[in-house]
Subunit: 337 residues, 2 copies
DNA sequence: TTGAAAGCGCTAACAG
DNA sequence: CTGTTAGCGCTTTCAA
């Protein structure tokens, strides 16, 4: 167990004061060229790493951003993290990940914890059970910048990065109508969160605009519990007998595929399916699945870019705006005529 | 922007000394019961969160563990993170994630950075380009506990958590033989890393034990670049014409599915495919894919459990041992007779 | 049972 | 150009 190499040790070894070493390392203007070089050389040799906790105490930044997401075993969030990480890495920031598991209480607990200075800023995609945002407002009041992505809080005064959920919901539904569907169901995520609500609204509007019959029983609000959701969806198949399904989330579409197999229903002859999804194997499914694919990486990247701009630039403020990055509808066999 | 609530403020408000408040909060034996209660009540009321950076400086622990993995858009690592997070969360630890993108240089840079005290311990699955481990040994010398999972360094003096790669490779190959395959190829990950090497060895041994023909051209070492790997694998199909494929990694199997579609090859009639995989949709692929499914969540959980035991228990040491958690072979249509 | 004071590693204001 | 010094928020002797 080697002794730690800190600024004090460097100073001793070089016969300089601690302050001089500190300034040399930060390339301060008022240190001589040779001194700087000597310091930097020794620092490199000993693999000196400034202690981030100590410098936090002075500068009040930890060079860390917190990412709060509902789950990680999910292609969308995984790609978004890649996007976030790519910009954090460029700017020398570290990424701490918190998983809310779709549970507000956990989200609140994390938020509380973040009052401690562990992170300089927050990227969040709220859980499906979040309806009250005071935990996040408290954080913002404390001066912690927050940027929302994907599942945003629409009336929160900050930058929100999202995709065109309403428009995409509309297009997905329109696509099913164009393919001849008459009984189109929608598997929604909690309509109390932005994306769930917007996707459902797009669905309803498309139906209305094209005179397709519907009633509440065609719109199922799933609960993010595989067992219960499977029951709900099976009920839908048995009682409503839809000929078209628009799933707001990949997992629900997967459940549909499984149920169809179980019930001996043929996709797309008996029922056509389209889903929001970032699954890599959509084209290899049986049958290949039509998707609305979100620019997950770009959304993560954009959200992180905004947050880091706020952290790094003195005069940059997070405006109250929504940045929309378009999704793409990719038709495949699951919605073929 | 509210003023921060720190221990000093609590002390002022309560007319106590900072020291007393500190001790009361840590439930020290030499503080009066009523004093404790008053302190704790106010702390809760004001949502006091101890500053982790300040306490690090004294106690030299940050209640944070670092996880270094090759990539995150991967079902295996995603599940492992869930496992890791589940135990970190129980013990009040935070998880920082570093993505090496299969690049040793990044891994080395992260390791260097971790000399700073940012994390108390490290969980790592090494990149496929890592052959030298001095960056990790340096960390260990400094007193930072390291636990390997999945892609381990076999002769590193610490706990390694992994699955039975050799055995699974053997069984997968045996399964193909049992299904009548005569020309069995293996798509390996870098055989310079443990799991790649062990899976390949199991493959070779199974072939030998059952007298199945082979030569080097049947063992393709992929490079983790989709474009190049696709070329390599397409060459394999065109020139070697295997009738059985054992993929060491999900992504290679996916590429095989795509190539088969392109070349008009029929799975499983023309070629049978089995792969290590944690993909959720394996059973929905066309045809459903036989897999060796690793207990990813449990592996993450076990690795994190060992690391946290080391961090929390005074007398617990990380022994030089390998903990093996069994994988499961799930036969599906892609290897049907 | 409580409080005063030192110090963790670092930065920055100020002196020299 | 370099050094002295105070102090970030907290824990921890040690003294009262």
């Amino acid at each position: 167990m080697e002794s730690p190499v800190n600024i004090k040790k460097l100073a001793q070894l070089l016969n300089l004061s601690i302050a001089t070493v500190s300034k040399a390392l930060r390339d301060s203007h008022d240190i001589g060229q040779e001194t700087k070089e000597k310091v930097i050389a020794l620092a490199k040799e000993l693999n000196y790493q400034p202690n981030p906790h100590a410098s936090f105490l002075r500068k009040h930044n930890s060079k860390t951003i917190a990412v709060i997401i509902p789950e990680i075993a999910n292609n969308y969030f995984t790609l978004a993290i890649n996007g976030i990480e790519s910009v954090a890495d460029e700017k020398g920031y570290h990424v701490i990940i918190y998983l809310s598991h779709e549970n507000v209480d956990r989200e609140v607990a994390f938020s509380r914890h973040l009052h401690s200075g562990r992170a300089d800023g927050i990227l969040i995609s709220v859980s499906s059970t979040t309806t009250d945002y005071t935990h996040l407002h408290d954080l913002q009041k404390k001066g912690l910048p927050i940027v929302f992505f994907d599942r945003v809080c629409e009336d929160f005064n900050t930058v929100k990065v999202t995709t065109d959920d309403y428009q995409s919901g509309y297009l997905a539904t329109k696509h099913l109508i164009d393919q001849g569907c008459k009984r189109i169901a929608h598997l929604a995520i909690s309509t109390s969160i932005s994306i769930g609500n917007n996707r459902a609204k797009g669905y309803l509007q498309a139906l209305q605009d094209h005179g397709v019959m519907t009633d509440e029983s065609f719109l199922i609000e799933c609960i993010n519990n595989t067992v219960l959701d499977t029951e709900l969806i099976k009920d839908l198949f048995l009682h409503i007998k839809p000929d078209g399904i628009f799933a707001a989330v990949e997992r629900y579409a997967i459940i549909c595929y499984e149920i169809c197999e179980e019930l001996g229903l043929n996709i797309p002859q008996d029922v056509k399916i389209i889903s929001f999804s970032n699954i890599q194997t959509a084209s290899l499914l049986n049958p290949s699945m039509s998707t609305i694919t979100q620019p997950a990486f770009e959304i993560g990247r954009e959200a992180a870019t905004m947050l880091l701009k706020k952290l790094e630039k003195k005069n940059f403020e997070l405006k109250d705006e929504t940045i929309v990055i378009q999704s793409k509808l990719i038709p495949r066999k699951s919605t073929m005529m």
